[in-house]
Amino acid sequence: MNEYLLIESGGPPAGPASHRFADDAAQLAREGEDVALFLVENGVTGAVRGAMPELDALLWLGGRLWVDAFSLRQRAVDAEDLVPGARLVEMRDVARKLLSPAVRVVWH
C-alpha cells in the first residue's frame, strides 16, 4: 500500500480536469492506497456539498478529504456547507504530511 497526498488547486471553476483528478484520487483509494486529497486555492469550492460527487466516492472508499482553511475563508465558504468528512487543515499539516518519507505527492 502506498501513501498519497494529492493536491487539487483548481476545483470546479477550473472545469472537467478537476473532476478527473478527484476521480483519480477515488481510483487510488479503490485500489487500496492510502489517499488524502487536499483542496487548496479555488479547489476548496469542490468541497461544497454537491459540487463534486467524486469526493463522496473518495470518502466512501476510505480516502481522506483535507480542505485548506485559509483558502476557504478567503473564498467565503462556510465550513458548515462542506461535505461531511471534510477536515479543515492548515499548511503546516500539509508540510508535515509531505515530509513523511512514505508519502507520494501529486499537485494538480
Binding site: S9, E41, L98, L99
Partner: protein, 135 residues
C-alpha cells in the same frame, strides 16, 4: 568547476504566471510551512514563474494612490527576505533558458540561474518534488 546542488528535503518546481491564480501564494505558504518544520527547501522557478525574482520589480509594488503611506513589498522583497531568514535551508533557482526567453535575464543576486540541462541534478538532490503548476 562543477556546481554542487545542495541537498534538500523538498523541491518545489514552480511553473505558472503570477497574477493568474494563487499558485505563487501557495508556493510561498508551503515553503514557509516546510521551513517551519525544519526542512531544507529548494525552489526551481521555470517559465513565467521566473518573473517573481526579476530585478526590474524593485523592492516595492507601484504606489497605491488611494493610500500612499502603505508600502507593498514586491515578490522580489518577499523572496529575498525568505532567503535571508533561512540561509542554510532555502535555495531559489531560476531556469536560465526561461529567463532569457521571457526577457527576464536580469534577476536578483540572491537567486541562482541554472541551465535547464542541469535540472535533473536538482531532482537527484532532493527527497521529494512538488511539481506546482503547468506550462
Amino acid at each position: 568547476m562543477v556546481f554542487a546542488v545542495r541537498h534538500t528535503d523538498v523541491l518545489l518546481k514552480l511553473l505558472g504566471a503570477p497574477h493568474q491564480n494563487d499558485l505563487v501564494t501557495s508556493a510561498l505558504r508551503l515553503a514557509q510551512a516546510l521551513l517551519d518544520e525544519g526542512a531544507a527547501v529548494q525552489v526551481w522557478a521555470c517559465g513565467d514563474a521566473t518573473a517573481l525574482t526579476c530585478a526590474a520589480f524593485g523592492d516595492s509594488k507601484p504606489v497605491n494612490v488611494a493610500d500612499r503611506t502603505v508600502d507593498h513589498p514586491s515578490t522580489v522583497t518577499l523572496i529575498r527576505e525568505l532567503l535571508i531568514a533561512y540561509p542554510e535551508r532555502l535555495d531559489w533557482y531560476v531556469c536560465r533558458f526561461c529567463c532569457a526567453e521571457r526577457g527576464r535575464s536580469d534577476q536578483i543576486a540572491e537567486v541562482l540561474k541554472r541551465p535547464p540541462s542541469q535540472f535533473w541534478q536538482h531532482i537527484r538532490a532532493t527527497d521529494k518534488v512538488v511539481a506546482m503548476g503547468v506550462c
